[in-house]
């Protein structure tokens, strides 16, 4: 009986919310005016308007997005590092086919992530998606050569210090225009010819920093989940 009441309640609630959205949302018709978009692209030097918005006109949003991501990584590590680490995690019995194909695929996927990150202002992509693609390549690497090896190599490269330095560097890129007499959160480096890879250096710089940040953050979450998964 209780279950039926709950189901009816849930269906009604979802239908009511959907109804409010359907009948109450007045959508202004029409795409943005072309001169607006061309102005934005010329100002930032990025033909991809989505990049031009989230790394140019609305950089403030992106800054806090990175803050949320950093806080989530800190939270995951804070709660899971208190757990006893799985002493010697049994290697997941992968089939030989998966191991070999992962070994072939992971460099390609890492390069694809790098490409998406560096060309985010010209074509679909950007730091966030490129970072996640590279992190999935890292996961394939873990599947092929084992989590401890990858962890040792990456810690040797100082990845943990870089994880905390990157948000500071992104904030510095956003604040540094003040030193040159320009408003805060404006382009650090001048916009060049739109459509060129180095046409908008500041967006390229931000994309690379964000891509690294997302890659390292996702790797930290993955590694913490693998090592501290606890015993049930």
């Amino acid at each position: 009986m209780k279950r039926i009441v709950r189901t009816v309640l849930a269906v009604t609630l979802s239908l009511v919310v959907c109804g409010i959205v359907i009948f109450d949302l007045t959508i202004p018709e029409g795409p943005p005016r072309p001169d607006d978009s061309e102005l934005l692209a010329a100002k930032t030097g990025a033909p991809n308007l989505v990049s031009a918005i989230y790394l140019g006109a609305r950089l403030y949003d992106t800054l806090f997005e990175i803050l949320v991501f950093t806080v989530a990584v800190i939270g995951v590590r804070f709660y899971l590092l208190q757990r006893p680490s799985t002493a010697r995690p049994d290697p997941i019995p992968e089939s030989h086919v998966l191991q070999v194909s992962a070994q072939i695929l992971y460099p390609l996927i890492l390069i694809l992530g790098l490409y998406l990150t560096c060309f985010g202002h010209l074509s679909p992509g950007g730091g966030f998606s490129g970072g996640v693609v590279a992190a999935s390549g890292l996961l394939l690497c873990v599947m092929s050569i084992g989590v401890d090896t990858v962890y040792c190599r990456l810690s040797g490269a100082g990845i943990e210090q870089l994880e905390w330095a990157l948000p500071m560097m992104i904030v510095a890129v956003c604040v540094l225009p003040l030193a040159f007499g320009r408003p805060i959160l404006s382009n650090l480096l001048p916009a060049g010819q739109a459509g060129h890879v180095f046409g908008s250096l500041s967006i390229l710089l931000l994309n690379v920093l964000i891509g690294l940040k997302v890659l390292i953050g996702s790797w930290m979450v993955l590694h913490t989940f693998i090592r501290h998964r606890g015993e049930i």
Partner: protein, 139 residues
């Protein structure tokens, strides 16, 4: 099939996700439903300002067609990242709960918490009575 657009699909997904979020008792299924609700929100925001005959918002547009509005797409990027952050953090909390109560059923966890509270309360009560007896004996 004119009604079958991104917005209607997003609303159907939202209804399914909300129903599952309320009805199902398993915490992991609840998290999956939360992800479904989030994805439906993303689909909805994207398809608000997109029509099938529009181009992607990357200049220059060679075909001369109108471009989709890039603003919702830029905003949805934050939604995706925050979705990831929420899912990772709540998975950690579910792991902690499972480690302590050995169940992902929220009814059972609630029951276990109630029992734990009751035993703690009775212990405290026993301690209090013991203390007052000791004080009375002192007097």
């Amino acid at each position: 099939m004119g009604w079958l657009s991104g917005m209607t699909i997003a609303m159907i997904l939202f209804a399914i996700g909300t129903t599952a979020l309320i009805v199902r008792k398993d915490l992991v299924v609840k998290l999956l439903a939360l992800g479904l609700v989030n994805s439906s929100g993303i689909l909805f925001l994207i398809s608000i300002r997109f029509r099938p005959q529009m181009e992607a918002p990357i200049l220059p547009v060679k075909t001369g067609l109108p471009i989709a509005d890039p603003l919702p797409q830029a905003l949805v990027l934050s939604a995706i990242v925050i979705n990831f952050a929420i899912l990772a953090l709540s998975l950690v909390f579910v792991m902690l709960l499972v480690e302590r109560y050995h169940s992902t059923d929220c009814g059972r966890i609630e029951h276990a918490v109630e029992t734990e509270k009751a035993t703690l309360g009775s212990q405290n009560l026993a301690d209090d009575t013991l203390e007052s007896e000791v004080q009375a004996a002192d007097r």
